[in-house]
Symmetry: C2
Subunit: 157 residues, 2 copies
């Protein structure tokens, strides 16, 4: 009978009045797929895909990362990241070395060609972001980001 719990009913997937259009994770999934598809279009001509792209961007930002670091940021499984990295190495995009301070860790960096590749893709990717946030002001973008982060933090506890 209380207003709040009644209203919340429609977000409860098990509820009879559940409305999927009102379910945030439905839109997170769709938004993510759509973004990925748009990006693939930009990436394909450069012989890249979304997986390689995510790894490359992280390396561009951080300079040097271990396989686990990449897995953590890109939220992928270790074997998956391992294989992406070695694929990228075979394509000349990254260098792979064993850490000098810890023999267990594998350190990955972008090669010159990898850097060039990233920069030329970057030009094309901006349009996707612009399109999605068309009409948004800076504070709105910041708030959107805060929201996404908050949900992520909540879920990772």
């Amino acid at each position: 009978m209380a207003g709040r719990s009644e209203k919340l009913e429609k977000y409860r997937p098990a509820s009879d009045n559940f409305e999927i259009d009102e379910f945030p994770f439905y839109w997170v999934a769709r938004l993510n797929s759509l973004y990925a598809m748009e990006m693939e279009k930009t990436l394909k001509p450069m012989n890249m895909d979304i997986s390689r792209w995510r790894v490359a961007m992280l390396l561009r930002i951080h300079g040097e990362l271990s396989i686990s670091d990449i897995a953590e940021h890109a939220l992928g499984k270790l074997p998956t990241i391992t294989k992406i990295v070695y694929r990228m190495r075979d394509e000349g995009l990254v260098d792979v070395n064993t850490s000098e301070t810890d023999g267990r860790v594998t350190v990955v960096t972008l090669t010159d060609q990898g850097h060039e590749n990233v920069e030329s893709v970057l030009e094309g990717t901006q349009s996707v972001f612009k399109k999605a946030f068309k009409g948004f002001t800076e504070p709105q973008i910041r708030k959107s980001n805060q929201l996404l982060r908050k949900l992520f933090d909540n879920l990772s506890d």
Copy 2:
């Protein structure tokens, strides 16, 4: 020199002051993966995965869908959905039939076992949603949803 364009710089992936933590699609991707991983934990004991689950939920809501309908809602490629559906049929979760009004379309529905399966999984999945939106009020959830939809709509033009 203008305030706005300077502030917006950090969201431009090509920019030198780009900060990935401020990039909404980075968080969309991470949030989506994290949600998927949490869901997988709940789904695994019932012999389900996220793909099957998405198809099952859509069928629970809509009752009957064609392969393309499912592909559209789940934002998957046609061959992918086709294979998921036939896998689910082999596992007894769905029925697959040719439409009586249009011989090209394949109509998919949940079997009784599929329904039971969905209901028992639903019990477990609520906690994931609750965890993510812990501390959110109903208007906040609604606003979050609006935001995600808006981004999706922008991108799909």
